[in-house]
């Protein structure tokens, strides 16, 4: 494993999805990929995600779009409004994949998009790319 010297060795990742199954699968994929993510935080909706970011330093947010209470687009907008989180990495993990939605996400300044259903390899590659990790399983 090699890690650029200007990046932290471990990463804090926040998984935001109303599906506990999807959160578990992503968490398992991160662990199996050998990405040193400690801790991994979880949130079941966008509002809970915004609350986590108020109290924790997060390197990467993996965000679903269609969630109760607050969806991923609104949560992304609120996160970006906070100066301290303006540049936090946000990757959308969603089944919504119309060209219009992708364009909307680009305008929100997200760093990536993973289309559901995803493979573990897609999760691994995107996380490594966004965080600048170069791990090999």
């Amino acid at each position: 494993m090699s890690t650029p010297s200007n990046l932290p060795v471990t990463y804090s990742i926040l998984i935001v999805d109303d599906s506990a199954l999807t959160r578990s699968v992503i968490k398992r994929t991160i662990n199996m990929a050998g990405i040193d993510a400690t801790p991994i935080f979880e949130a079941g909706d966008g509002k809970a995600a915004v609350d986590v970011l108020k109290n924790q330093k997060i390197d990467l947010v993996l965000m679903d779009l269609n969630m109760p209470i607050m969806g991923g687009l609104e949560a992304t907008r609120r996160i970006r409004e906070q100066p301290e989180h303006k540049n936090v990495n946000i990757v959308i993990v969603s089944s919504e994949s119309t060209a219009g939605r992708i364009e909307q996400l680009k305008q929100q300044g997200v760093q990536g998009y993973i289309k559901k259903p995803f493979t573990p390899e897609q999760i691994k590659c995107t996380i490594e790319q966004v965080l600048g990790v170069n791990n090999h399983v």
Binding site: D18, S19, A20, L21, T22, S24, V25, R28, N66, M67, P68, S94, S95, E96, S97, T98, A99, G100, R101, I102, E103, Q104, L105, K106, G112, Y113, K115, K116, P117, F118, T119
Partner: protein, 163 residues
């Protein structure tokens, strides 16, 4: 960002196209989510035991509600395959209902580009909702035009779109 590949548009007024779209996206979702080999089956399939009906609406230039009927044990198998545990393990039991809802969420999301008239079109999606499904509802459910009936390694699923 991933590129979007243009696929032929499906009209909700064409039952055969709707059936084909439901089959294609559900089979693909199950293969990727949980390594299920799923095949279309005939209308003589029996109602799943201990079944639930999951509904999820979409609104745009095409609007409707996708409904899926599946047995609770299928949810356990879906969760167990996705999580790499046994179907009767605690994790699979607690995430069985959630796994079927997530399947519907994924299938609906995958279908939207095929229902859009313009490439830039946005759809509003509801959250998946669940209710118990009575065995007596099965015959009328599968009699609907455009219904897709699938065999997921021994478990029967049925999907349709209500306009």
């Amino acid at each position: 960002m991933s590129n979007i590949t243009a696929e032929p548009r499906v009209e909700l007024t064409c039952p055969e196209s709707v059936k084909g779209l439901l089959e294609e996206k559900t089979i693909g979702a199950l293969q990727t989510m949980a390594f299920f080999c799923t095949d279309p089956t005939d209308s003589g399939a029996l109602s799943p035991e201990d079944a639930v009906l999951i509904s999820m609406g979409f609104t745009g230039t095409s609007s409707g509600t996708v409904e899926l009927v599946a047995g609770k044990y299928f949810g356990q198998r879906l969760a167990s395959n996705a999580l790499g545990c046994g179907p009767t393990d605690e994790e699979a039991l607690t995430q069985a209902d959630d796994s079927i809802r997530e399947l519907v969420n994924v299938v609906v999301g995958m279908m939207m580009p095929r229902l859009a008239i313009e490439p830039g079109e946005l759809f509003a999606l509801t959250l998946p909702s669940t209710r118990a499904f009575e065995e007596g509802e099965w015959e009328s459910f599968i009699a609907a035009p455009g219904v897709a009936i699938l065999d997921a390694e021994g478990d029967t699923l049925a999907l349709r779109i209500i306009r």
